[in-house]
């Protein structure tokens, strides 16, 4: 995806938007299909959070200064970012619907946990790319994604 280790802030923000959209798609499908009230309620909340994050990133992208140069990461770091993005499963709404059909409540939570952790790792990388003025917003979103991890794990432990 990156040209020889070159990543732009707007590219990373676009990926962040797609990430939040994929999260929302999955959580919406989980709300529709899960029979477990705790999981439905948690996924409802998670889906709403992802929508809010998507809006934050859209606003961030719209307010990017035009003169920001793409950042060139050292080769290994760029390879890591590519691998990180390549190793994630980002469902479309249609894929999410098909995916959750065969999922138990624990499967849904396991998928959500993996998804949220992948997202946090990506946002840590993204934080290096955005203008200084946007770093606080990214930090806030990272903190919120961490809260998602905690709540998902609590739900897993409660269901076990």
């Amino acid at each position: 995806m990156a040209q020889a280790g070159l990543f732009s802030a707007s590219q990373m923000i676009d990926i962040a938007i797609q990430t939040e959209q994929a999260g929302h798609a999955f959580y919406e499908a989980a709300v529709q299909h899960s029979d477990e009230p705790q999981v439905k309620s948690l996924c409802q909340w998670l889906g709403e959070e992802e929508l809010t994050h998507e809006q934050t990133f859209r606003h961030m992208g719209q307010n990017l200064p035009p003169e920001i140069e793409p950042k060139e990461w050292p080769g290994e770091r760029a390879e890591f970012i590519d691998a990180l993005l390549g190793s994630r499963f980002m469902p479309s709404p249609e894929q999410a619907q098909a995916l959750v059909q065969d999922m138990s409540a624990q499967d849904i939570l396991d998928f959500a946990l993996t998804f949220e952790k992948d997202t946090i790792i990506f946002f840590y990388e993204m934080r290096e790319m955005v203008p200084d003025g946007a770093v606080d917003q990214v930090n806030e979103i990272i903190a919120e994604e961490k809260a998602h991890v905690s709540r998902i794990l609590k739900a897993k432990q409660a269901l076990a």
Binding site: G86, S150, L153
Partner: protein, 164 residues
């Protein structure tokens, strides 16, 4: 103290993380049919063992333990402590038996690589927080983090190779 854990206990968690990683890769190196998978896993075993040694050295460094022990619960939000707890509790390889079992019972080499990828990512997340918490004492963690990131890249390449 953080999460009611001493600095020594937190470093011990890192040691166990690396040790179980080595057990997983060792088992996978034995059971894998594909030569490239075997070789890659053997490389990763060596890395995990080196990381374990590094964390053991940190155990002997008073400054590092003091830095962790000096963290007061009030300095960190409940939410943050819950997150750290969640990272520790959702470790995929909590013990040697689980590490071996997951490597042996993976339905395919790709499935095993997926487990390894999640394991490495969880480790990255944990060490990133450890780095944040240790501040000035965190120097050696940067090299470990860089190596863990390269493991994600290598494992993803291996997965792509197996799926082609």
């Amino acid at each position: 103290m953080l999460l009611a854990l001493t600095g020594q206990e937190i470093l011990q968690i890192a040691i166990e993380t690396e040790r179980q990683g080595a057990v997983f890769y060792e088992r996978l190196a034995t059971s894998a049919q594909d030569q490239r998978v075997k070789e890659e896993c053997q490389r990763l075993v060596a890395f995990e063992r080196e990381h374990e040694k590094t964390f053991r050295r940190l155990l002997g460094q008073r400054d590092v333990q003091r830095a962790l022990d000096s963290l007061q619960p009030g300095q960190l939000s409940d939410e943050y402590q819950q997150y750290l707890s969640a990272l520790i509790d959702s470790n995929m390889l909590p013990d040697e038996e689980t590490a071996q079992r997951l490597a042996e019972e993976a339905e395919s080499e790709v499935a095993a690589i997926n487990i390894a990828l999640q394991m490495e990512k969880n480790t990255i997340l944990f060490y990133q927080e450890l780095q944040n918490l240790l501040g000035e004492q965190a120097g050696v963690l940067q090299a470990i983090l860089d190596e863990e990131r390269s493991h994600v890249y290598e494992l993803n390449e291996l997965k792509t190779y197996l799926q082609d």
